[in-house]
Symmetry: C2
Subunit: 330 residues, 2 copies
């Protein structure tokens, strides 16, 4: 079995001999295929210059219209990592890794720049710009991951940075218009606790040709993957009782499940993304705390008038009907 | 000047000798630093197996909770590329490149899977899941870009896939819950029209330590970058009259500018992201077409009841006040 064949077999949990044999593989491709998330780190600090090189790689990723709507906070202070860990479902690797990067969708730099020049910046209020900034941050972070792995470092993304976004924003002193999209742990993997390559869905489930085929056509690939993942969970002795379909369905069952598989005991339910782009956050009087979690994207409705000439409005909540009314400007 | 020094100088438009000299560089890092967007392609098709390898690399990227909330449509049909080009500000390289990939935030696969099992999937209605899917798609795409560049291919992202999302969804037959986040052109770069490495902001503008410093502290780095970009625009003989600050401010001035620097003549104003996750799209009667563009994220309010037990509601618009009322469930 050649190297490519081995990596593909790990990635898909089965042999893909034809693809492996025919293709002009290179070491970069093989490295990409070998990615695995690392959740156990040695305490060793990163060599001098590593952060700068990772950032240069991140900045080399594409960015929409060169607007560079992302920033990153490098956290090495143990006390701050500890607090961020608590805000992210108590994940131990956030405390353990020598470098924790928090990747930010950053619309504040452009707002500040335009305001300094006395130029309009109303475009920043649109969801389009939020999506652009999230994409910019993700492309940059993934380049940093590839760079880190080329240096023998391990990484794991921390989506739970979105569990309690207002508190993360306060901890990192984020200005209005800056949102923590995800975290990233970096460090040398602990060889005593090696990570496995996790198999993915058969490519034919995610790859569509010319148009998106009816969803039913993905069913055989998903069934095959359920078998693959049953075997993987067993092999890894993971405490997952069933297959990917059931496991994933539990994760999306409702708002309370969105916090991920390891909610911190006694923590409030997630209020992810609610008003996270406005700062200071809306107070409890302005949006009552719903117990199932409310994921409103308020589009700066507090700090900016929602409609020209009008007064800023805050969303009103009718506790009886369970509805929140939000007025948006067009 | 060593290789790393040269790449860093191109990336930042100035010498960074100390960093270059001290660090254990490798070829992967140098390749990441050399990224440039390619907008001129040879007509040569990609070698057999390339798409499969790119998808394997993409699937090897991290994905939140292994939910794999992305898909991709590979488009090679010239007529379809032509139509997509028209929907994306007539960008010629979409027609020209041999392979055009449209990266999708895909919540439909999980919805379908949970529904087949008779399990709840209400979590999918939250903005949190949309952000997760956008991030998943971006991480996957960036891995494909790194893989493609290792094979000598060039790429350029097409954010303008979000200009007219309902029409893109119709063209690609996207089901409800699937959203085209961006496109990606791939092909062999035309050596007659080489692309330059575009300088980025000084790292100290995007990299924050421990906490996000007050925005004013970024001003010197931005001023330095404005000088760098003035020189770059001149050197490249680009028709940009001024610097990055002014150029970027124009891009975010208001909703009409969000479509990017090359709006198609006679095209309607952008309606990016409006109701793009619901399908069929809301009709004009349900949300009137505003001429400044409306960027409502409707969160499936048409296809799913917004509150338990209630009737599905469609947003109502008051033309007089310019307000759209949207009821969300919590």
């Amino acid at each position: 079995m050649n190297e490519a064949e081995k990596r593909l077999q790990e990635r898909y949990g089965k042999k893909l001999g034809a693809l492996a044999a025919e293709f002009p593989w290179n070491s970069q491709l093989l490295d990409l295929l070998s990615h695995r998330s690392v959740r156990a780190y040695l305490p060793d600090p990163l060599p001098e210059g590593t952060l700068d090189v990772l950032i240069a790689a991140a900045q080399s990723a594409a960015t929409s219209s060169n607007l560079q709507t992302w920033s990153v906070v490098a956290v090495t202070d143990p006390a701050r990592k500890e607090r961020l860990s608590v805000l992210a479902a108590n994940q131990a690797h956030i405390r353990q890794c020598p470098l924790f990067l928090v990747w930010l969708a950053d619309l504040a730099r452009l707002r500040h720049t335009a305001q300094r020049l006395g130029l309009p910046e109303a475009g920043l209020d649109y969801l389009e710009m939020f999506v652009m900034a999230v994409v910019d941050a993700a492309l940059a972070a993934q380049n940093a991951v590839v760079a880190a792995e080329s240096l023998g470092l391990g990484t794991v993304y921390i989506g739970a940075m979105r569990n309690r976004p207002e508190e993360v924003a306060a901890e990192l002193q984020l200005p209005p218009g800056v949102f923590a999209v995800f975290g990233l742990c970096l460090g040398y993997p602990d060889p005593a606790r090696p990570a496995a390559t996790k198999p993915r869905l058969p490519a034919r489930a995610v790859l569509q040709r010319e148009t998106y085929a009816p969803l039913e056509s993905q069913e055989p690939a998903i069934e095959e993957y359920d078998q693959t993942m049953r075997a993987f969970y067993q092999q890894q002795q993971m405490a997952v009782a069933d297959d990917w379909s059931h496991h994933s369905a539990r994760r999306i069952a409702g708002p309370a499940s969105l916090i991920g598989p390891r909610p911190a005991a006694g923590r409030p339910r997630p209020t992810r993304l609610r008003a996270a782009l406005i700062n200071p956050p809306l107070t409890a009087q302005e949006i009552p705390e719903p117990d199932a979690g409310l994921f409103l994207f308020v589009l700066n409705s507090k700090t900016r008038p929602p409609c020209s000439g009008g007064e800023p409005r805050t969303p009103a909540c009718d506790r009886r009907t369970g509805e929140v009314e939000l007025k948006l400007c067009y």
